[in-house]
């Protein structure tokens, strides 16, 4: 799949943002006034910034409000609704907590739940795609949730929780690489099932057109896959494993925490790029790919 920068930024930043908001809604850390304001500012900036950047890849951003209408069937619609609801509820909670010094625990709790639900619905947009076997698996929501909770805990200065969830994310990511590399074949997709031409050796003789098209650009992206192995190791080690070890092995001061955040965000961006760039869509079969 085409690794669109707007989508990579959106899923990474809003994942972090909603992760942070989850903890703020649970009153973790227990702070007030300007300190709390700063925490909420970062949380909203990341989540809203992510949401805005995701509208950049739409053909008609001015109609985006329509995307809230199909919650009965569409995960993208559900994501939009959860995101708006989470931001409204936590906005109210933050307003009361910062300016009126009243923390309504129930409101914060609902906001936290909605934040996690938003991350889950985001992950389900990818997980539901049977056409992309690498994504179509329970490890995808687990990965998105553990990254979001781990990263959010890191920003919310909850080092032990952060370490625990980044450990889960490390293991899930490693498993997702391993399982994802096999799944396309395991599902039995091939040029033979795609065309129904069964008896004999089969190959693409001629594509339908000499140039490129939307399908090839959007879904048969293959540029840069040669760097995939190196990026995998970099992302896994520096973005997840090293932060996990640092968080779990010692008391983390401000400077070290800052360094871990930079490592982690950089690593997750690389991993998210791979999440798209490595994903094989079955339509590639018709163009002689993945065979």
């Amino acid at each position: 799949m085409h690794p669109a920068p707007s989508i990579i930024l959106f899923t990474t930043l809003s994942g972090l943002g909603f992760g942070l908001l989850t903890f703020l809604g649970l009153n973790m850390p227990d702070v007030d006034g300007w300190v709390l304001f700063t925490f909420f500012f970062v949380g909203f900036a990341l989540s809203v910034g992510g949401l805005l950047s995701s509208t950049f890849h739409l053909g008609h951003p001015e109609r985006a409000w329509r995307a809230l209408s199909q919650w009965k069937s569409s995960w993208l619609s559900r994501e939009g609704i959860c995101a708006v609801a989470a931001l409204c509820v936590l906005g109210l909670y933050a307003l009361l907590a910062i300016f009126f010094d009243t923390k309504v625990a129930a409101l914060g709790f609902v906001g936290s739940a909605l934040s996690l639900l938003t991350v889950f619905t985001t992950s389900m947009i990818y997980t539901q795609m049977k056409t992309v076997p690498r994504w179509n698996h329970w490890s995808t929501p687990l990965l998105f949730l553990s990254l979001s909770i781990g990263g959010g805990a890191l920003l919310a200065a909850q080092t032990a929780v952060a370490g625990l969830f980044l450990l889960i994310a490390t293991l899930t990511q490693a498993f997702a690489f391993w399982g994802g590399d096999r799944r396309f074949k395991d599902r039995g997709h091939s040029l033979k099932t795609a065309t129904g031409l069964q008896n004999g050796e089969l190959r693409l003789f001629e594509p339908p057109h000499t140039g490129t098209n939307y399908l090839l650009k959007e879904m048969v992206h293959q540029i840069g896959r040669k760097h995939a192995q190196r990026l995998r190791v970099l992302g896994l080690v520096f973005g997840l494993a090293l932060p996990t070890v640092l968080l779990l092995s010692q008391t983390v001061g401000h400077v070290l925490a800052g360094l871990i955040v930079v490592l982690h965000v950089g690593g997750v961006l690389a991993l998210r790029w791979l999440f798209f760039a490595e994903a094989e869509h079955v339509v590639g079969l018709y163009y002689g790919k993945h065979g």
Binding site: G59, S73, S74, G80, F205, Y287
Partner: protein, 256 residues
């Protein structure tokens, strides 16, 4: 609504005969023509006369080579457009309600006024049947020529999809798959019509007729009908030619 309507009373779709398709791309051109001039946003091209042209098409023809072990290799031309699936994943993923499957005849359409161009439906389609129009920013797909098949302003014989009407090889057939007596149902039954990528669970309405096996290849001697006319007239040379032949053989480097 982007929920699926459940079983539809009519199931309109196409049968594509891989045995007779000659790969002329006439259906591709007629589809582009009709759908640029009629329903919805025109099918735009980008850099059409430049170095790197591309454009929106609702129907494309691939070509595959199939080499059976015990028979000559075959070239199979493979037209592909929306299969108007019964369990259309492209419809249910749509967040806006722009994508829908018609409850009365099962045609899958996009309401271009509601489409935000998110592209999710194109991801959900296993067959590459949906293409975003880069000019209009909305999703385009085969409409089964919904603006022809019910169009009473057209002569009766033109009330079928443009691709079907155009195909010079008669490789495309249009009809109602819910009716077991329809032309398309008969073709599927007689020729063993198949679903593409059935393991995706989309239940396509369109069916493909596999190419007939070419197992009756003629023995080589019979194929070569001109052989008797071309065989050498004289095997041994006489007279002047015979003398020349022998003399040349005697020269150094001649036959031994």
């Amino acid at each position: 609504m982007t929920q699926l309507p459940g079983p539809t009373p009519k199931k309109l779709g196409l049968v594509i005969d891989l045995d007779t398709c000659v790969g002329c791309h006439a259906c591709v051109v007629s589809c582009k023509g009709w759908n640029t001039e009629n329903y919805g946003a025109p099918l735009s091209d980008q850099d059409a006369y430049g170095a790197n042209p591309s454009g929106t098409f609702l129907n494309r023809v691939h070509s595959y080579e199939i080499a059976p072990k015990d028979a000559p290799a075959q070239l199979v031309h493979f037209p592909k457009s929306c299969l108007h699936c019964e369990d259309a994943p492209c419809v249910t993923v749509c967040p806006t309600g722009a994508s829908y499957k018609r409850a009365d005849d099962g045609i899958v359409l996009v309401n271009e006024d509601a489409c935000i161009g998110c592209g999710l439906c194109a991801w959900a389609c296993p067959y590459g049947a949906r293409e975003m129009d880069m000019d209009a920013g909305v999703m385009k797909k085969c409409t089964l020529c919904v603006d022809r098949i019910y169009n009473e302003n057209l002569p009766e014989e033109d009330r079928e999809p443009a691709c079907v009407r155009t195909c010079p090889a008669n490789a495309r057939h249009f009809g109602d798959f819910a009716d077991p007596e329809s032309n398309v149902s008969h073709l599927v039954a007689e020729r063993g019509g198949i679903d593409l990528m059935a393991e995706q669970g989309t239940k396509p309405v369109n069916k493909y007729l596999p190419p007939r096996p070419k197992t009756d290849a003629q023995p080589e001697a019979e194929i070569d009908v001109l052989a008797p006319l071309l065989s050498p007239v004289a095997t041994e040379a006489h007279g002047f030619l015979g003398w020349l032949d022998k003399t040349l053989d005697k020269l150094p480097g001649g036959a031994t």
